[in-house]
């Protein structure tokens, strides 16, 4: 096949090439972070601390997937805008729900 | 146009409405005038060409921004400012509980029921006078309506008091008012609550303090006796 990159013959060798190697590295991080999440639940931490830790880890994992597996790190501005703007809008919307649903409901429960 | 205003603060709503009319009417008149003049004056005629202006000059930009400023300050901020004050006065100033009459309103498909604290001044005791469809309040005393719903969302609407408030299942909402003119007024349900929505009518009876006290005594007696039996 013309134009095709000369592919390393064995699978193991191929996995050590640039892109594949990078993906496996990210995979390692994701597994480590997942294990850390499960471990954190066993430590008997306070509810709020645990929630903070888990949300932070989940965000890191999600970012790793988005940046490396979905290649957002190397994307053009248009694509970034297409996905980042909705996430911002979504955050604003959910925050807008808090006063009425969370705060008011809690006040009513008191 | 407005229904009779029988409340202490209702006039603020009427004033707000007329303010909004005063602010928006000139804009509407200008739009219609320009439309009319243009259609008459700038009709296509033989030998006349439209002017070739795109409105991207600094002058047009200045005009646009000036217009935005006028609209923002003259209409938006003006109206919102007055409204915020009226809203605060009508909805955000709960009367002191010891000086106000508290009435619990329970909404259900398709009727209103009302509960007074009764002779002991406590709710949820056996001597609470409860009424269906009709509620009595005195003039000159703030009233706190505590609204609950048994099924769907209803909205407790007192057009003559210029207020309304939704009653939601699972939570309590509050409505404050103070009547000034004795009379019988209608209570409406303003939120679609089912097929009988249109018939979810109640009566608000505003009485002078003397009449009201007399009425309350009778009710307290009636429900007190009911308990004794």
């Amino acid at each position: 096949m013309t134009g095709a990159v000369s592919t390393p013959t064995t699978f193991a060798a191929w996995l050590k090439t640039g892109a594949a190697r990078k993906y496996l590295g990210i995979f390692g991080w994701l597994i480590v972070l997942t294990a850390a999440e499960v471990g954190a639940t066993q430590l008997g931490l306070g509810k709020r601390t645990l929630a903070a830790i888990l949300i932070l880890t989940a965000l890191i994992k999600a970012s790793l997937v988005a940046l490396y597996f979905m290649h957002l790190r190397h994307e053009v501005r248009l694509v970034l805008g297409v996905i980042v703007i909705p996430i911002l809008i979504a955050s604003v919307f959910v925050l807008g729900l808090f006063p009425d649903i969370v705060i008011a409901a809690r006040a009513a429960l008191r | 146009m407005f229904p009779q205003d029988a409340s202490l603060n209702g006039h603020r709503i009427d004033e707000l409405f007329w303010l909004a009319c005063e602010l928006t009417a000139p804009a509407f008149v200008i739009v219609v005038a320009v439309l009319a003049i243009s259609v008459v004056r700038f009709r296509a005629r033989e030998g006349r060409r439209a002017s070739y202006t795109k409105g991207d000059s600094p002058r047009a930009l200045g005009l646009t921004l000036g217009l935005v400023l006028v609209v923002f300050v003259g209409i938006d901020v003006n109206l919102a400012w007055h409204d915020a004050h009226a809203f605060h006065e009508l909805f955000e100033k709960p009367p002191a509980p010891d000086q106000a009459l508290r009435i619990r309103v329970l909404a259900e498909q398709f009727l209103w029921s009302f509960r007074y604290a009764g002779a002991d001044g406590q709710f949820d005791t056996a001597d609470d006078p409860t009424m269906t469809g009709e509620v009595h309040i005195p003039t000159g005393k703030p009233v706190i309506f505590e609204l609950r719903s048994r099924d769907v969302i209803h909205s407790f609407c007192l057009p003559n008091m210029r207020v309304k408030q939704d009653a939601l299942p699972g939570m309590t909402t509050y409505l404050y008012t103070e009547a000034t003119v004795p009379g019988r007024y209608e209570i409406m349900c303003a939120q679609l609550c089912g097929f009988g929505h249109y018939a979810m009518r109640g009566t608000l009876v505003v009485e002078t303090p003397e009449q009201f006290d007399q009425w309350m005594r009778e009710r307290n007696h009636e429900f007190g006796v009911a308990r004794a039996e």
Binding site: - | M1, V39, R49, L67, F195
Partner: protein, 571 residues
């Protein structure tokens, strides 16, 4: 790709955006008629409570002898609203015009995803069948209002019957169709523009569709999520939106549904009006023979509105016991929308000012939009501010307001578009004289229907009342209700003129005039109707969209976008 030859592939399962656009147009017009007839029944009932309605009333149910009973009334206004919004206006404006116009105006052969485009229509068609089927299931049609507030809509104890459930699913279908369309439109506008068609050379109509699609893309999924949860509440028995005694096993939040609904619902009103704003830019310029004034300012203002419209949903919920700070924020954001709107009006009026106005039928309707939208927009301020809104909330004032914006403006805009692009779609023009009659009747009748609503609303008349005369307070409005009824009747009559014109013209011999309005944008640079794949050769754009009365040419008053560069003419 060559043109398909079989009837099925050409007219039914076609991937040609022009055919799909026409499919949307005809289906949408059908629903416009159905939902319009519901409106007639509603007006009759309000004006003559519980009196048998001649002809139409007997179609409702056989045992009520033509009387609109309260259960039927709830179904009528529910189906009127939802059919109009999701099955008539959205398909006609966005489905029909969007499909037909976008590729032509940007010089593309078709949409980015032609097969997906065909799929969007068929998902909508499926939803249409579903939404019509609710009239034939036991319990009848949906009756919780087009807003379908929970728990009225979510509890099967309160609103039993399959009709309500099927209705929710049908709305989700319509939403899915719109969403697929939105993806297609955005991709097409970004990717398929012909050489020279910079974003800032796109006609305003296309800008309108672009912005509308952004809002659809973001907010239709939100309502889809809410609708799915609603269906689960009804079918599985969850209680996401039910609270109090109806939810013994721990309740959800009725207010959450309202937030989700209006989170979508407010962008939705801009979804419906943005194409009209865009279209006005094109039409006013064309028939004033003058460049659209402040093109850049209009584009930016539309963008600002798109941004702000997403964070104002709470102004629909001022009476729901909203958090005070949140309420103030929503109020402030809402009134601030009047600023970009003022820019629109300024630009529209400045476009016709100093023009050489040709009062053709599309122009009449376009000017009509400016009038009714001024009324609708300005009355919006009354609803935007909290205290005043609490008083007029759920009254017919609100109904009047949103009918001036969403019914009158959209209806006129839609008709303006139909009269304007009919020659392009079908190769022959609608009759001008009948069109003018149509406009005159529609203009008077529309105002006759909606202006009384405003007056009565201020007087305390609530909406969705099967019989307003149940309240002593509202009995004095019987004259106004008569005016509204007769106007509604006249409006229907006026549309017969249009229907006659439409059918007669379709049956007439095509003239195939390429550019009957002497317009500049690309859809007029190809034959009428355009061939398969639109252009014999992909056009090259050399200038902005509105070169009318340019001094660069003396013999005519327009320069098309794709004409090769002229000496002395600037882009």
């Amino acid at each position: 790709m060559s043109e398909p030859t079989s009837f099925l592939r050409r007219y039914v399962f076609s991937t040609d955006h022009k055919v799909i656009g026409k499919q949307y147009l005809f289906t949408g017009l059908f629903f416009l008629l159905v939902a319009g007839l519901f409106a007639i029944l509603i007006r009759w009932q309000i004006a003559h409570p519980f009196q048998p309605m001649p002809v139409l009333g007997h179609l409702l149910s056989s045992d009520s002898h033509g009387v609109v009973i309260p259960t039927e009334y709830s179904k009528l206004f529910t189906m009127h609203g939802s059919l109009m919004v999701f099955f008539a206006v959205t398909p006609i404006l966005i489905g029909a015009f969007g499909n037909f116009i976008i590729p032509l105006q940007i010089g593309a052969r078709d949409m980015s995803f032609p097969v997906l485009n065909m799929l969007s229509y068929w998902v909508y068609a499926l939803g249409s069948v579903a939404v019509l089927s609710v009239f034939f299931v036991s319990g009848g049609a949906a009756s919780a209002g087009w807003t379908a507030y929970a728990p009225l809509s979510s509890s099967v104890k309160i609103t039993p019957g399959f009709g309500q459930t099927i209705w929710i699913v049908a709305i989700a279908f319509s939403g899915t169709s719109t969403l697929l369309g939105a993806i297609n439109y955005i991709a097409t506008i970004l990717n398929e523009r012909c050489p020279g068609m910079d974003l800032m050379r796109m006609p305003l109509t296309t800008w309108g569709f672009f912005y509308t699609s952004i809002l659809n893309l973001l907010w239709v999924p939100l309502i889809a999520a809410a609708l799915f949860m609603l269906v689960l509440d009804r079918t599985v028995g969850t209680s996401f939106f039910t609270a109090g005694p109806l939810a013994p096993r721990g309740g959800g939040q009725p207010l959450l549904y309202q937030h989700l609904f209006w989170g979508f619902g407010h962008p939705e009103v801009y979804i419906l009006i943005l194409p009209i704003w865009g279209l006005l830019g094109d039409l006013l310029a064309t028939f004033s023979r003058k460049p659209a004034f402040g093109y850049r300012a209009t584009v930016i203002s539309m963008g600002v509105i798109v941004a702000v419209s997403q964070v104002v949903w709470g102004h629909h919920m001022y009476t729901a016991g909203m958090n005070p700070i949140l309420g103030k924020t929503f109020m402030f954001l809402t009134v601030s929308i009047s600023m970009p709107t003022a820019i629109f009006f300024f630009n529209w009026l400045a476009t016709i000012w100093g023009g050489a106005i040709q009062l053709k039928t599309p122009m009449l309707f376009a000017l009509g939009v400016v009038f009714v939208f001024a009324l609708g927009g300005l009355t919006g301020l009354f609803n935007a501010v909290q205290a005043l809104d609490v008083y007029i909330h759920d009254t017919t004032f609100v109904v009047g307001h949103f009918h001036y914006t969403l019914a009158a403006s959209v209806f006129f805009g839609m008709l303006a578009g139909i009269y304007f692009w009919f020659p392009k779609m079908f190769g022959r023009a609608l009759d001008e004289r009948l069109g003018k009659v149509h406009f005159a009747i529609s203009f008077l009748a529309l105002n006759g229907v909606f202006a009384p609503m405003m007056v009565m609303g201020v007087g305390g008349a609530l909406r969705r009342l099967a019989d307003p005369s149940h309240y002593e307070l509202l009995r004095k409005f019987s004259t106004w209700n008569q005016v509204a009824w007769w106007s509604a009747f006249a409006l229907l009559g006026g549309q017969l003129v249009f229907a006659y014109n439409f059918v007669r013209t379709l049956a007439s011999r095509p003239t195939n005039v390429q550019n009957p309005w002497n317009a500049t944008t690309l859809e007029w640079a190809t034959s009428s109707p355009p061939p398969h794949e639109n252009f014999p050769a992909i056009p090259v754009v050399c200038r902005g969209p509105y070169e009318y009365s340019s001094p660069a040419v003396a013999d005519r008053d327009f320069i098309a976008q794709n004409e090769p560069a002229l000496e002395g003419a600037s882009a």
